[in-house]
Amino acid sequence: MDARRGSLPVPRVRQVGFFTPNAQPAPTRSQSGPPDSSSPPLSDSPASNSLSPVMIPPPRHHSDNLAAAPRPTSPLPVPEPSPFRRRGADNNNALLVGSYNPAETLLAMSPSSSHVGDGESEETMSGGWFRRSNSGKLASSLPSGTFDFSPVQSTAEALKPNKVQNPVGISVLNNTILAEVSARPAPKEQQPEAPSSSKQPKPKLTKAERRALQESQRAAKAAAKAVAAPEEVATIKSVKQHQTQKKDAPQVAVSVAASERKGGDKSQEKERRKDAPAPRMQFDDKSRVEKAKRRSVVDQTEAKKRVELFRHLPQYEHGTQLADLESKFLQLDPMHPAIYKVGLQYLAGDISGGNARCIAMLQAFQQVVKDYSTPPEKTLPRDLTAKISSYVSFFTQCRPLSMSMGNAIRFLKNRIAKLSPSLSESESKSSICTDIDRFINEKIVLADRVIVQHASSKVKDGDVLLVYGSSCVVEMVLLHSHELGKQFRVIVVDSRPKLEGKALLRRLVAKGVHCTYTHINAVSYVMHEVTKVFLGASSVLSNGTVYSRVGTACVAMVAHAFRVPVIICCEAYKFHERVQLDSICSNELGDPDAIGKVPGRMDVNYLNDVSNSGNLQLLNLMYDATPADYVSMIVTDYGMIPPTSVPVIVREYRRDHLLI
């Protein structure tokens, strides 16, 4: 460990995660979550320091935020609940869009509600206390501004900065983004040359600073100018095709100004755009849903009654699609049978669990690649990528993709794009197949083995381990520790309606592990005897939030309250650079009827005749988000890390993930 930073006369406080060092307050800052709420707000303006580029808000807030004066720094650099949510007070008007009343209780359950008291006291300090009487609770229980009740507009607007960006940048957006963008009905503000005129490049800005500056300027531009130029979409499209064809060649400057502005930063910018997640479909946008429906293979009837707060998530009448899809089997000629099979399995729920779904998908793709032959006058990389995209959208219609699957698809597309053009078709195909095999092997199978090694080192004799639901890695950890001869007891906590824990319980008991089975209702009762909690995860997000089976957050919070360490086992390929503060923005809705019915209990039929009534809405959420505060440790293939180090792994190893 050398003194990389040399001798530093001036103390510097370094923080992990997202922050733009010394960033000057930009007008668009309205929302920010600290990467680690326990890290002290020592720097001048913590809120601005921890701003993530991902979270640059839509420009519509920016006038509000100009009004928000910079807050004084807390005099005591002592860890305390983060006061950053206070900005909500200034944003009340913006927040009151949409309906929140039916979900008041749900809001109260959202993780940020633990800061209610704090938020209130902060408001008092800022002089906005009089607002508290009407909407203080709402403001403080929502992460200010991030929670957007009109997601349609916000996505549309959030998209604008991307579009307004110079054409070079956009040329690398992948097909899906572009398709969605061009499908949008409204004319867009277009301003290809804009940044070049206003940009005054400062000599010593870091990348993050530059980015923040750019984004803010772009946002300001987008708000100021509104030049409708629908034709330019077409222009950009053609430019894009032009550009992608010579991807490896140095970028030809589309606009001279743009090229000299960007300089060496261009390629980085390009990669960043490519890595940026595509905006998700918002299912309460009628026109877009219609469009998507026309394109879709699976004919799904949308559920009629949906909980207001979750309208942006897809929800279909369960049970209708399967038969329909089966009957369509012979008509779907472009669909590869392997894809079709896996899609049906997703739909029927035969394959579940992040790893299993990901492996099934990758193997189906492998089959596709094997049977693939390039059509005449097409090139393999482009045609295959397009094919895979169409298959992915089929999978999405069967069941929303998990983040791990998204990462795997990104990897695959990247490999296809990076194929050397000199390779023959069969060589390219076999290279892709080996890449897929290696991904499965290195990122899933071997990673699991490493995780098991690490995690079982934490299992001690006499431990009482609590597990929730059924996670294959956690199961492997338990079985491995058992094989090592460790004496421990397992409490399997389960929840309706999936009752996945029973299957796990069966396998554990068969191996001779001493088990206790209970439902999540009793978790606070059993927690006092628990010494460690082991949980799986569907994904771990950059701010350390664990996105996992619904109920995980509850278990983690109870464990935290009982001072029981919570250990998350998750492969690093499931890490995602997105940040999520609640489980509302992105989630999956299950069959709403499943929670109303109790199988095997004919006497519990209270909902049978009411379920059609207009004032009953059933909500069956599949996932929830556990804030990083409740997680003691994440065991991953890179070792045991605190949740604050997730962005480090994402930052350092994302290249690895894409390139292996």
């Binding site: 460990m1 050398d2 003194a3 990389r4 930073r5 001798s7 530093l8 006369p9 001036v10 103390p11 510097r12 406080v13 370094r14 923080q15 992990v16 995660g17 990467p35 680690d36 326990s38 890290s39 002290p40 020592l42 005591l76 650099p77 002592v78 860890p79 305390e80 934490k458 001690k460 460690k532 360490p565 250990i567 003691s632 440790m633 890179y638 070792g639 045991m640 890390i641 605190p642 604050t644 180090s645 480090v648 792994i649 350092e652 190893y653």
Partner: protein
């Protein structure tokens, strides 16, 4: 005569008896082993190490050394005890010299080298280990890179197993291996120049580690303001350096020293501070909460900094951090980067135990159990900042650094 009394009084101390009992045996075996069969260098390192801290009763050698260097038995015994402690190593020195004041062709033992370095009270254990490992490279007769690396690995393993309770020793060895062997220069050059390169890197690393304390002291100056009251716990050379520099910079501050039972290292620190004319107040360990409202910041050292960003330090640090946290006082940790260890304790019991004898002054009935753990784990949420030679870090950056270093 003077010698006699010193000895007599010294022997009365139960801790000395224990020390003596533990030290006599290993030294004997070490000497015996060295005399009887001088084994070839590589096997000497592979040998079950000659001075294992007695694993049977698990007394931590690390804390033994600390007590010997910084502990205070009692004020009137202080001078005599130091004389005695100073005397015993002298004997050993002579013995060591007679043993291996041998020509350089004689077998070289990394443990002996390490012990020689370790006798300097100013030199941290990890730095001693780093110096010893550098000496391994220098004295190595290996002819290939592979051989040298294996030799180095063995030496570092034997050092690590010499005292498994010392976190900084293990971490220092690991870091040294990483730092020294992770250079691309090794691949193409011929062996001799590669070896010189290794030695260069090793010395540089030793140099960096040695200077770490000064860097930390410089970094932390901005956090000490005039009129502040600083609570320190135990004896930490880094913290002493920080306070010394602050005093030299004419800062006006006062220090509360805890007593630091059982080896009472806090007394030693208060002695040192009094010499610098810093106003010092001594507290018994249980008076921390009582005086916390007067305190502006807590300064502690660390035996090891773990991956979560928490620290492992002398018993009592955790409770001080808890009290400070509940009273919203910042807790600063001064620790050199070679103390960053790849450990992740989940709770207090999730560490290898490091035990040490505790005197109560009166005989303790046999039925009464005594907690003899020497250290505790302070989770990162109770720490404000870490002052390291890499800069001033928040606890979460520790893992960042470790990931960059090890993966």
């Amino acid at each position: 005569m003077k010698e006699q009394t010193t000895r007599a009084m010294w022997w009365r101390s139960p801790s000395f008896i224990l020390d003596n009992r533990q030290q006599a045996q290993p030294y004997d075996t070490a000497r015996g082993g060295a005399l009887s069969i001088p084994p070839p260098p590589s096997t000497a390192m592979a040998d079950p190490n000659p001075n294992p801290n007695p694993l049977t009763d698990k007394i931590s050698a690390y804390y033994q050394t600390r007590a010997a260097h910084h502990g205070v038995v009692s004020s009137d015994w202080l001078a005599q005890a130091q004389a005695a402690v100073g005397h015993i190593p002298d004997v050993d020195d002579d013995a060591a010299n007679s043993d291996q004041g041998a020509p350089p062709g004689e077998p070289f033992s990394v443990i002996d080298e390490f012990n020689n370095w370790r006798k300097q009270p100013d030199l941290a254990e990890a730095v001693a280990a780093i110096r010893a490992l550098a000496a391994v490279i220098r004295n190595s007769q290996a002819t290939t890179m592979m051989e040298l690396e294996i030799e180095l690995k063995k030496a570092s393993d034997s050092l690590k197993s010499w005292d498994t309770t010392s976190i900084s020793l293990t971490a220092g060895c690991d870091l040294f291996m990483r730092y020294v062997t992770r250079t691309s220069a090794l691949e193409y050059e011929d062996f001799n120049s590669a070896k010189t390169r290794l030695i260069e890197r090793a010395e540089k690393f030793g140099e960096i580690s040695y200077k770490a304390r000064k860097i930390i002291a410089m970094l932390s100056q901005d956090f000490i303001f005039d009129g502040c009251t600083i609570l320190v716990h135990g004896f930490s050379r880094v913290v002493l350096e920080v306070l010394k520099m602050a005093a030299q910079n004419k800062k006006l501050f006062r220090v509360f020293c805890t007593e630091g039972r059982p080896d009472r290292t806090g007394l030693r620190l208060s002695n040192e501070l009094a010499k610098l004319d810093v106003p010092v107040k001594l507290l018994i360990d249980s008076a921390v909460a009582y005086s916390m409202d007067e305190v502006d910041m807590v300064f502690v050292g660390a035996d090891g900094v773990v991956e979560s960003g928490g620290i492992i330090n002398m018993m009592g640090t955790y409770q001080i951090a808890l009290v400070a946290h509940s009273m919203n006082k910042p807790v600063y940790v001064a620790a050199e980067s070679y103390k960053f260890a790849r450990l992740y304790p989940l709770d207090q019991k999730d560490m290898g135990p490091a035990l040490r004898p505790i005197e109560f002054g009166v005989p303790i009935p046999l039925k009464v159990e005594v907690e003899t753990s020497a250290r505790d784990y302070t989770p990162p949420q109770y720490l404000t900042l870490l002052f390291t030679d890499l800069g001033v870090l928040t606890p979460s950056v520790v893992s960042d650094e470790l990931i960059q270093l090890y993966l």
